[in-house]
């Protein structure tokens, strides 16, 4: 086999690990979102796209369209929240919600319009991108998924697919039909034994690893993390001990958006991202999540790394069949899963 050639194997493996690390981040977010809110989050890849394209717009000194989306969602969420207060006859909290949202919106709008044309250094742009994309998560949760909190998994999936289509369309409006690339965070290459890696791909692997470690610490050591885990294990039980499913959902979607935006900025330098490239990237993360049965974080991460590696080796040996090979991977996994899991009766609320 040509792929086991010592001059080729390490290059392909490193390439597969770099992509796999990003897929792994996405698969972790997918597992998290599903466990806590039972949403199969199809638009995960859109956060990646918004991350890359927002940073690319800032690079050009332009105000990214993400700001518009953020303001619209903020308005919608505030209206929903205010309506909820008003229905109970609470006028003051309703007014405060609307006023607060208006103020926040004005600050965000002003900040984006002030900072973007200045073309600040890269770290500031990255931070600004995270500030603009991460709030999309909780706002989308508030406007789309929270009203459906008690719906079945199927209804949530349908909403999720619809949201994916809406976000893809909005990305076309905001960022145009052609894609963008972001500048690399690090230039040059580094030699590790026989393999030369670019600093960029090393950075991708490192940042992903650190992020996974941080997630682990968050779930094991902190109160909100433990609350999320509790909600994931048993929603009703968690509610009985005083964990609000709403705040758990909000936190989950914030994390998902944050991870997506980071993932987007990590792969942005190596690939020209277009408005519709999120779906396939998200889908590969999803294959990883499926390997983990949508419950196990380590298995999902390992599965996603496997997807990255298989993709890399398949693109070398049989490039025309690459996508077929990657997505066919799901079949034996599903078969194996359906054999080993017992089917409890549907416990839909």
């Amino acid at each position: 086999m040509q792929i086991f050639d010592p001059s080729i194997f390490p290059i392909l493996a490193a390439d597969g690990l770099t992509n796999g690390a990003v897929y792994a981040l996405l698969s972790l977010a997918l597992v998290l979102v599903f466990a806590v809110t039972r949403v199969i989050f199809v638009p995960m890849g859109e956060f990646v796209v918004f991350g890359t394209l927002t940073l690319a717009a800032l690079q050009l000194g332009k105000v990214p369209g993400t700001v518009t989306l953020l303001l619209i969602l903020l308005g919608l969420a505030a209206a929903l929240e205010a309506a909820r207060h008003l229905r109970r006859g609470h006028v003051t909290p309703a007014a405060l919600t609307v006023g607060g949202a208006a103020l926040l919106g004005a600050v965000l709008w002003g900040a984006a319009h002030w900072i973007a044309p200045l073309k600040p250094p890269l770290p500031v742009q990255v931070l600004l991108t995270l500030l603009l994309v991460a709030p999309l998560g909780p706002l989308l949760y508030r406007t789309v998924f929270q009203p459906l909190q008690n719906a079945t998994v199927l209804v949530l999936l349908i909403a999720s697919v619809a949201l994916h289509l809406v976000l893809t369309g909005l990305a076309l409006v905001f960022f145009g039909p052609e894609g963008s690339r972001t500048p690399p965070f690090a230039q040059g290459t580094v030699a590790l034994g026989q393999v030369t890696l670019t600093w960029q791909s090393l950075l991708v692997i490192l940042v992903s690893a650190v992020l996974m470690l941080a997630l682990y610490v968050f779930f094991e050591r902190t109160m909100p993390g433990k609350a999320l885990r509790a909600t994931a294990v048993n929603r009703l039980g968690a509610r009985l001990v005083g964990i609000s499913p709403t705040s758990a959902g909000t936190l989950t979607f914030t994390l998902a958006a944050l991870i997506g935006a980071l993932g987007g900025m990590l792969i942005g330098p190596s690939v020209a991202m277009t408005y519709d490239s999120g779906f396939l990237i998200g889908l590969k993360g999803f294959v990883g999540a499926i390997i983990g049965g949508l419950v196990s974080y380590p298995l999902a991460a390992a599965g996603a790394l496997l997807v990255g590696l298989i993709e890399s080796f398949a693109s070398f040996s049989l490039s025309g069949w690459k996508e077929v090979i990657v997505f066919t991977l799901i079949l034996p996994v599903l078969l194996w899963r359906s054999v080993i899991t017992r089917h409890a009766p549907e416990d839909e609320e």
Binding site: I8, I11, L12, D15, T18, N19, V22, G169, L172, G176, P177, E178, G179, S180, R181, T198, I267, S270, V271, A272, T274, D276, S277, F279, L280, I281, E311, S312, F313, A314, S315, F316, S317, S319, G320, K322, E323
Partner: protein, 380 residues
Amino acid sequence: MKKALFLSVLTLFSLASAEVRIGVIVSSTGPAASLGIPEKNTVALLPQTIAGQQIVYTILDDASDTTAAVTNARKLIQDTKVDLIIGTTTTPASLAMIDVVAEAKVPMISLAASEGIIKPVDAKRSWVFKTPQTDALMAAAIVQHMVQNNVKTVGYIGFNDAYGEGWSAELKKNAAARGLKIVAEERYARSDTSVTGQVLKLVAARPDAILIGASGVPAVLPQKALKDRGYGGKIYQTHGVANADFLRVGGRDVEGAILPAGPVLVADQLLTTNPTRKVGLAYMNLYEAKYGKDSVSTFGAHMWDAGLLLQRALPVALKKAKPGTAAFRSALRDALEGTRNVIGAHGIFNLSATDHLGLDARSRVMVQVVDGTWKLLPSR
């Protein structure tokens, strides 16, 4: 009573409006949006009256989807009662629309590349015309350039879809005819984040030149990977990358790429004796005045050329019949087939009963990316 009044108003209206109705279908969303949007933008620049007749354009989006394109074509024919359809952007959708327009006997000018849309001119395709150069025409130009520059072996990497397949087939055909050897052939997907595997294989085969059969900004990825792996040979791209976004996104990674393109891309560098120079510059100035500097792309010029064909054919057809009738549509078809020497932005159109494109070698130039701009290469 009310109904009678409504009907009489309707009759009055249809009598009063002897306008020519043009249906336009483009892919302004979906994967082909970067082509469809400039085409749609160009419609706004087309003349509102031709030979004293008012022209009404109805623009529909097919979302780069074949089914939507067919539905839209039916809608335009049955509801809007159009006299001509211009569109659509993509080859598969244009092919699917042939049956619809042939059945309704409505002439159509496609904006898609493939030769299969207009060849052979049979009973159905007698209603179908198109303005963009065919893949075959462009592939022949690439292979000719390769041969002239002592390229003996070629590697190919292209999209894992109809676009990549089409170019692979045309490259093989032309290479076989001129004694070029294809030593490696690879595929990748538009949304891929890495082509390292394919590029390793390409570089290992040591071809003198590599053709990237891709369009738009995803075409940057293989060229960047080839540069990263230290590939020193010539890199060819297709005319599917000929827009400003490719240069913006590609930056230094696409320096040196050689590609065939419609002359409109480098209109200002053409010899002043070249007749397409004037038309191309006029179109560019008109487009950029409305949509901003550097916004023009070669794709919108295909729509412009369709408009030019119409301006030549319509007065002829109007002499024979009234708009809105079957006789007029048939006359328009005949008039389109009879257009000669229409100087367009992409070349000179000489249509005939056997050629519904009518472009020749004057419709293509070889260009190279130099210092982030398109540079016209001298033709030999």
